[in-house]
């Protein structure tokens, strides 16, 4: 082990040297070649992600298999270290790393637990690459498996509420449409507005579909039979991390006593236990923070949040609202949040396990407790 670790320490320096020697032929996007490595995981990850069918965790797994292909590591120790480094790079460079982490974590656990039966290390590496690609190929069939399972829960004439855009939900709905009459309400899912994408795809397929404002979910809830959402990640508590708004839909569904179903491929199962929204790795101090002192703090106003001079006639109201300095936007014909204000909002939220009725995944239909038992059994053993 001391030998391996010594090599491991030397390794980054070697890659640094070799990177200058090797032309950046592998890099598809030269602007992304900020890291001085011969193989840019992030570029490869981005390229794989361009494929519509491939989800974030799978793209991360495939990017890591490509890394193994290009890796010059001579020992398992070095290889695992490289994988960890690459996972770290990916994590740093994406804004929402939760589902990506699920993928990298799964693959690294797989690599470390993989039996070392090969004759040489090169053989082992090719074997790992083969296994990784095989898994990814197999994982692409998971969505049809899930839609098959969910089909039994969709009755004829069902009215379904879904949130934002999810590939697995789309596949399930389209599949259900072939055999049953369904109609779908879809939320707009601000700020990205991905609900529009869902609406267009479903309408094109001939499914009766209506867009719902995020703020009108409670209004529509009584007309709905059940809720079907995709997921960013399913965590160890049995809870769900998904596009922001899922939590409030789940709470309203619970209040209206409607089942809330989540669809999640098993590679989205993630060893994470958020205790609250603010315990998520995506949460930063900036999110939904009150405005700090402006660039021009007048001594008289230091106690109050920044207030533009023009609105100082009503400092209490404007001071406490994030739209404190949005004089320009109020003058426009439509009231809207500024991009900075949107940036201060969360992109994902956490839904507690007690709000979720069932999780449909390729390993079966699980209760939230079942998810956590599956996860604990998989990783804690």
């Amino acid at each position: 082990m001391p030998v391996a670790s010594a090599v491991g320490i030397h390794h980054p320096a070697q890659t640094l040297k070799s990177s200058s020697a090797l032309p950046a032929t592998i890099l598809e996007d030269p602007s992304r070649s900020l890291s001085q490595e011969s193989f840019d995981v992030y570029a490869s990850y981005q390229r794989i992600l361009e494929n519509e069918e491939i989800a974030t965790p799978l793209a991360a797994i495939l990017a890591l298999t490509e890394l193994i292909e290009h890796s010059k590591a001579g020992t398992m120790f070095e290889l695992v270290k490289e994988l960890h480094d690459a996972a770290e790079i990916l994590k740093r460079r994406t804004t929402n790393a939760i589902s990506l982490n699920a993928g990298t974590e799964l693959f690294i656990a797989f690599v470390t637990l993989f039996p070392h039966e090969s004759d040489s290390f090169a053989d082992l590496k090719t074997e790992l690459v083969k296994q990784g690609q095989k898994y990814a190929a197999e994982a692409l069939t998971y969505r049809s498996k899930i839609s098959e399972l969910a089909l039994d829960f969709i009755k004829d004439d069902s009215v379904i509420l879904t949130h934002s855009y999810s590939r697995v939900v789309m596949q399930t709905l389209l599949r259900a449409h072939k055999q049953k009459r369904i109609s779908v309400y879809v939320t707009e899912a601000r700020p990205r507005g991905l609900g529009v994408k869902t609406y267009e795809a479903l309408t094109a397929a001939g499914i009766p579909c209506t867009m719902v404002l995020d703020s009108a979910v409670a209004y529509v809830m009584d007309m709905v039979d059940f809720i079907l959402v995709g997921s960013e990640a399913v965590v160890e508590s049995g809870g769900l991390i998904n596009a922001v708004g899922s939590n409030q839909i789940a709470i309203i569904a619970k209040a209206a006593k409607k089942p809330f179903y989540a669809l999640a491929e098993s590679y989205k199962f993630h060893r994470l236990f958020p205790l609250s929204q603010y315990d998520l790795p995506t949460h930063t101090d900036d999110i939904l923070s009150f405005p700090r002192h402006a660039q021009r703090p007048s001594p008289a106003l230091t106690a109050r949040p920044s207030v533009a001079p023009s609105t100082s006639s009503n400092p209490l109201v404007s001071g406490h609202l994030p739209i404190g300095r949005s004089k320009s936007s109020t003058s426009s014909s439509q009231l809207a949040m500024t991009p900075e204000q949107i940036l201060r909002n969360p992109k994902v939220d956490y839904t507690m396990p007690d709000l979720i009725s069932l999780v449909f995944s390729d390993v079966g239909i699980l209760t939230p407790e079942g998810v956590s038992q599956y996860l604990v059994g998989m990783f804690a053993g």
Binding site: E236, S237, G238, R271, F273, L275, S276, Y278, D279, P353, E369, S372, Q373, Y374, L375, V376, G377, F379, A380, G381
Partner: protein, 454 residues
């Protein structure tokens, strides 16, 4: 106490000698010699006990009986002085066990009237078959007087004592260690149980020890086998308790954020370590220590935390409702964890947990996997323990006179259960050494079930 074992080499030689030549007689001689040995050790133990009482050592320091007894031997002057101060002086093994018996009867007399809780009382001490090792006698006393409390401390103390017992043990002729040692340990265990009901942690550790003993190779020389067993005990303590605590410290520490207000109940060694480690990491948080009669363990925790510089608030259980809205996380320890996810912990924990759940404050239990019990427990009535009335006042100190008059009242019984059961529904997460998990998933951990070792 390896240094105190004088007859070991010859004993080993005896056991390796061909058996068959007057085995009964040699055995008798052996026990005589051993008895003398024991009496001497008994005396030392008694003296040591007195010095401990005098210096008011914290219970943790008595976790290392080997070290302390050696210390006592090295300082004979101090020991003899202590022996003079000891009220009864040397009485021998029989006398001491009678003491424990007497106190046990006292307790049962006090709790006799509590009909539905009568099963909480101490089990009637049975006549001790076989001899009880002085280390165990001392440990029993420490248990029954609550000098050593806490699931972890008791488990470590028991295992450490068993190491001494195993080292002093000599396999009788015509027997093998793997078969006979357990019959020798059984009276020791039942002696400890008569002092205070066994904790789940002790039960789990002893089960593992039994497994190790029965798995001992018959062909191994006796001393080697004993050393191997002691090594296994050390490994168990290190892996399942010490190392587990370190992992829990880190994992639970990550859940503490700057500006958090943590609430804890009574005193748990793990929670104490978590808070201290998080504070040492530079996290800024406040701690509310909730405490309750009769044990008032939280005072000790308060002392440790405020000494470290953590901003603390101390309040009693009835006041929890007033502060719970200000709390961001409840962090408690556990006595044991059951397969339905219920946590058995100091009486009052369930109240705190339910109150927190009601206010949507996350309840996090810090618990090593070796505290897992495969039983299902549904309430705190079927199994519990009563705090001895003589040791823990149910009334404030300044009413000392009233206490004596009150406790003598024929119609008054004092009921102080030591534990209660927190249902899994009021627990958010359990922090174990294998990660943060929901309480219902504890049975999915193979390690907790003892199927695999680390």
């Amino acid at each position: 106490m390896p240094s105190a074992v004088v007859p070991l080499p010859e004993a080993a030689g005896q056991s390796s000698a061909p058996p068959g030549t007057l085995p009964a007689k040699s055995q008798k001689q052996m026990t005589k010699a051993e008895r003398r040995e024991m009496q001497e050790r008994q005396r030392a133990a008694k003296a040591e006990k007195a010095t401990q009482n005098q210096s008011k050592n914290s219970p943790k320091s008595s976790n290392k009986p080997a070290q302390t007894s050696k210390e006592g031997a090295l300082a004979p002057r101090r020991a003899s002085k202590a022996a003079d101060l000891a009220p009864k002086g040397f009485q021998g093994a029989g006398g001491q066990s009678k003491d424990v018996k007497a106190s046990g009867e006292d307790k049962s007399a006090h709790t006799r009237g509590l009909r539905i809780f009568s099963h909480f009382g101490l089990p009637k001490p049975t006549a001790h078959k076989g001899e009880v090792h002085p280390t165990i006698v001392r440990l029993g006393l420490q248990f029954s007087e609550f000098k050593i409390t806490g699931a972890n401390a008791r488990c470590i103390a028991t295992l450490t004592a068993f190491k001494t017992v195993i080292q002093d043990y000599v396999t009788p002729p015509n027997n093998t260690l793997s078969r006979h040692l357990m019959t020798y340990l059984s009276p020791q265990i039942s002696y400890l149980v008569s002092a205070r009901p066994m904790s789940v942690t002790m039960g789990n550790a002893i089960r593992q020890l039994k497994l190790d003993i029965s798995g001992t190779d018959i062909d191994l020389p006796e001393q080697d086998a004993k050393d191997a067993l002691c090594d296994k005990i050390d490994t168990y303590i290190r892996d399942r308790i010490i190392a587990a605590d370190q992992v829990i410290e880190e994992t639970a520490g990550n859940k503490i954020k700057d500006g958090d207000a943590i609430l804890t109940y009574a005193r748990s060694s793990v929670v104490e370590k978590v808070l201290l480690a998080a504070y040492a990491d530079g996290k800024q948080f406040t701690v509310t220590v909730v405490d309750s009669r009769p044990m008032l363990e939280g005072k000790k925790l308060l002392e440790v935390l405020s000494f470290a510089g953590i901003q603390c608030t101390y309040l009693l259980l009835p006041a929890v409702g007033s502060v719970i809205t200000e709390i961001s996380m409840v962090l408690v320890g556990a006595h044991s964890l059951h397969s339905n996810g219920a946590v058995f912990s100091r009486a009052g924990t369930a109240l705190v947990a339910m109150m927190a759940k009601q206010h949507l404050v996350p309840v996090v239990v810090c618990c090593e996997t070796y505290k897992f019990s495969e039983t299902v427990q549904l309430d705190s009535f079927t199994r519990n323990e009563l705090a001895p009335v003589e040791l823990f006042n149910s009334f404030p100190q300044n009413k000392q006179q009233d206490l004596s008059s009150l406790s003598d009242q024929p119609n008054l019984q004092i009921l102080n259960p030591l534990y209660d059961l927190t249902p899994p529904s009021s627990i958010t997460a359990v922090v174990t050494e294998v990660g943060v998990i929901p309480p219902s998933s504890i049975s999915s951990i193979p390690l907790a079930l003892g199927r695999t070792m680390l």
